[in-house]
């Protein structure tokens, strides 16, 4: 993911293609002129042919995937937000770095606005580290979504993460939590029921 390559990787294939094409022209020319020069050109062309094949493969993947630069990593780290009824569910399955975490927050709030979701569940079952940055982001998501009228439930905190959060001094006060996704959904449903009773 974090392997940086020089820009040479992007420019090299073009040179190789050009070189191989030139060689091919040469070969065709030499075939017509004299057959014996073929042995001279074949190894050169076949060796470049290997590079040519790999460079073509890289080109079909696109330059970004070859270089593995940050922009691509960011894109691949985008967390899907699913909608079930009027509840949004986002399950974090990757180690979030700061930029992707902020992107996640923005995506969530936009999605809440677009879908008019009543509830949001952020599932952290697969998350093994919650530091102060991510911790603060979670409280921010809860308060921001709260301002928009959407209830947020955090589910699936691992024991080690819960212990670390409290020891770190982050208790996520004011954030609703549930043991797992199922209980989180039930919690939101119950609250909706109470809300309906209150107004009805």
């Amino acid at each position: 993911m974090n392997t940086y390559s020089s820009t040479a990787m992007h420019t090299a294939p073009e040179c190789v293609v050009y070189y191989a094409d030139t060689c091919a022209v040469f070969l065709r020319y030499h075939r017509t002129v004299s057959a014996w020069t073929n042995w001279l050109w074949l190894p050169i062309i076949s060796s470049y042919g290997v590079i040519l094949t790999s460079s073509r493969a890289e080109r079909t993947l696109g330059p970004g995937l070859v270089s593995g630069d940050e922009e691509v990593s960011l894109e691949s780290l985008r967390i899907p937000i699913l909608k079930i009824g009027d509840v949004l569910i986002a399950s974090i399955q990757v180690a979030l770095h700061d930029a992707s975490a902020v992107q996640f927050k923005d995506d969530l709030l936009q999605k809440i606005y677009d879908t008019k979701a009543r509830g949001l569940i952020v599932d952290l079952t697969a998350v093994d580290v919650v530091d102060s940055f991510i911790g603060r982001l979670i409280s921010d998501i809860a308060s921001m979504a709260g301002l928009m009228g959407t209830k947020v439930v955090i589910t699936g905190l691992q024991p080690a993460v819960a212990i670390t959060l409290v020891e770190l001094g982050l208790e996520l006060t004011g954030v609703m939590t549930a043991l797992n996704l199922e209980k989180g959904l039930a919690m939101l449903r119950r609250q909706a029921g109470e809300g309906a009773d209150g107004t009805g």
């Binding site: 993911m1 974090n2 940050e70 990593s73 180690a95 979030l96 770095h97 700061d98 930029a99 093994d128 580290v129 919650v130 530091d131 102060s132 940055f133 911790g135 603060r136 691992q158 024991p159 080690a160 993460v161 212990i163 670390t164 020891e167 770190l168 001094g169 982050l170």
Partner: protein, 133 residues
């Protein structure tokens, strides 16, 4: 004893790489799941401080041994602006940036030993250890 591993910090992505390195090393050394999370979280806080305040630096992770007890040592180094008042930043709730003021005191609580040296205008060196129970 295994060789020390160094994770350079240049971007927020490197924070994730540094804490993964620390966690993997802790796991290899036989630390339990909760201690692994403590160590990874502490490294995350320290590495983020390097990135936020100094821009670049290094996190070194190595295996240590004292009186037959195994442990892990994290050394966090940068040539950034340094900290004017170390005691102040070690207080809970003190923050100069977008953090929550938990970074350094939080990391200290998560580790067994914590030592910080800082010279204004020259940089900061944080050395912390956790021993296997």
């Amino acid at each position: 004893m295994a060789q020390a591993k160094v994770a350079p910090i240049r971007s927020d992505l490197d924070i994730v790489i540094a804490r993964t390195l620390a966690r993997d090393t802790a796991k290899t050394l036989g630390f339990g799941a909760i201690d692994q999370a403590r160590i990874a979280t502490a490294v995350s806080e320290l590495a983020r401080n390097v990135f936020l305040y100094a821009g670049t630096g290094t996190v070194t992770v190595r295996e240590i041994e004292r009186a037959g007890r195994k442990g892990i040592e994290i050394i966090c180094e940068d040539q950034g602006p340094g900290i004017a008042d170390v005691e102040l930043v070690m207080q809970d709730g003190y923050s100069t940036s977008r953090g929550m003021g938990m970074g350094l005191p939080g990391a200290k609580r998560l580790m067994d030993e914590f030592d910080i040296k800082s010279v204004e205008g020259q940089g900061t060196l944080i050395q912390c250890r956790k021993w296997r129970t």
